[in-house]
């Protein structure tokens, strides 16, 4: 369908962008790559009065890697992450997740800030942000604030963002080089939204998995940490019995909806399967094994 009518503004500063959003009283939408918003407009699922294009707003497109972690500006595109060798070394799970996002021709425009703000429950990057305890940096009429990713996502396409607020960046905590990790999802075709996916990391200490983080997406209203699956693995060796217990806990604690793409039971089964695949690979190999995750 042709897009609904809207006005368009292309501010040169972030202050101007925020002022435009504030003045529109909740009826305006920011746009950058537009790879989620444009389809929403085409389906007329949103009919904003004004689009505020961020393409001339400076300073939001940097990838910064430091000892305290990685900072990604909101306008960093998927292809920027995909092609950054430094980022792959510093935070390899980001690169692995991006390879699952849509297609080459969409990754040239889609941005990390856009995906986080869009908050699709089946999207990869919101799940990685929740997994890693990332911090979402926001600016609005009332000033700047930071929200932990774990409390940012409120529901399908719903977030803690106010109508006059913009995401400026995402901060990921430091990632030890020896960390073991996996990012796995199942989609019927390459680039489709996942029917279910999991992301995890842990650090080995005395041959036991410690600091276990496990999250899943495509299985509910928002990406979720799987606390029971984490507890089943934490401070335990990666034996087959522990792996099975972890999978069983994950299977039981998700409550996915039925829809035309897959039943609840099927998606539960996928969480179980993807956890098992990942853990068995991580049990058998070095930290580098994670780099082969699909």
């Amino acid at each position: 369908m042709k897009l609904p009518k809207f006005d368009y503004a292309c501010p040169a500063t972030i202050e101007e962008a925020v002022a435009l959003l504030a003045r529109a009283d909740g009826t305006a939408r920011p746009i950058s790559g537009g790879q989620s918003l444009m389809p929403m407009l085409a389906f007329r699922l949103v009919q904003p009065s004004l689009l505020v294009d961020l393409r001339h707003v400076p300073g939001l497109a940097a990838i910064t890697i430091g000892n305290d972690g990685v900072h990604l500006g909101a306008k960093v595109r998927w292809c920027d992450i995909e092609t950054s060798a430094a980022l792959q070394a510093a935070q390899p799970i980001l690169t692995a997740a991006v390879r699952h996002i849509a297609h080459h021709q969409i990754r040239t425009r889609g941005t990390i800030g856009g995906s986080i703000a869009h908050a699709d429950p089946a999207a990869e990057m919101p799940c990685v942000a929740v997994l890693c305890d990332a911090e979402i940096e926001i600016v609005g009429s009332a000033g700047k604030r930071k929200i932990p990713a774990t409390s940012f996502f409120k529901g399908p396409l719903m977030t803690a963002l106010q109508p006059d607020e913009l995401i400026t960046g995402i901060r990921f905590p430091a990632w030890p080089a020896q960390r073991r990790w996996a990012f796995e999802e199942f989609a019927r075709r390459r680039g489709d939204f996942a029917l279910a996916g999991i992301a995890m990391f842990f650090d080995m200490r005395d041959d036991k998995a410690s600091n276990v983080h496990i999250a899943a997406f495509g299985i509910g209203d928002t990406p979720l940490r799987l606390a029971n699956a984490e507890a089943a693995l934490n401070n335990r060796p990666l034996t087959e019995a522990v792996i099975k217990a972890c999978c069983r806990a994950g299977h039981q604690e998700v409550d996915p909806p039925d829809d035309i793409h897959g039943s609840s039971a099927y998606r539960r089964g996928l969480v179980d399967y993807l956890l098992g695949q990942s853990l068995r690979r991580l049990a058998g190999h070095s930290a580098k094994a994670g780099a082969n995750a699909h």
Binding site: F6, G34, R189
Partner: protein, 160 residues
């Protein structure tokens, strides 16, 4: 709203509504109907063009967002006299059947081989995953792109 775009090396100045997609601007304003529109919501890849050298879905970009950008469409990759080596390869391998998806695929393949003339079959298939073709089953398309690689390698080696 005024939008100045360079298309296939020529400067255009359009008056468009903000809601006009780049795809519609190319077809209805620039009258360049080689860019095909099928799904109009980013699913099929038929409308792929290059914006500042990178393949994008022109249905997922507003014309006003292309202001001051350089756009390359299927009309711009060859001159009127001859087909490009990539197009010749498509003809030889029967990579176009109904032809509706071909312009988008050619643009993606052109961008890929320009930046990665050594792309292997996996890489070609990965990039092609962003395009739907309902006729060929993709095998001849993959073949055609792989067979066009030497021409791009030669081009690259001849660059000053």
């Amino acid at each position: 709203m005024r939008t100045d775009v360079e298309i296939n090396g020529k400067l255009f100045s359009f008056e468009v509504e903000p809601r006009t997609t780049l795809a519609d601007c190319l077809r209805y304003k620039a009258k360049l109907t080689g860019t095909h529109v099928s799904c109009a919501h980013g699913f099929c890849g038929a409308c792929t063009v290059l914006v500042d050298g990178q393949p994008v879905r022109s249905c997922l970009m507003l014309a006003v967002q292309a202001d001051q950008c350089s756009v390359l469409t299927i009309e711009g990759i060859s001159n009127d006299d001859d087909l490009t080596p990539l197009q010749k390869s498509f003809r030889k391998c029967h990579a176009a059947q109904c032809g509706f998806c071909s312009p988008g695929i050619l643009m993606s393949a052109h961008a890929l081989l320009t930046s990665e003339p050594d792309a292997d079959e996996d890489r070609v298939r990965e990039v092609l995953s962003g395009h739907l073709c309902r006729c060929t089953g993709y095998i001849p398309i993959v073949q055609a792109i792989l067979e066009a690689r030497p021409a791009y390698k030669k081009q690259q080696s001849e660059l000053p």
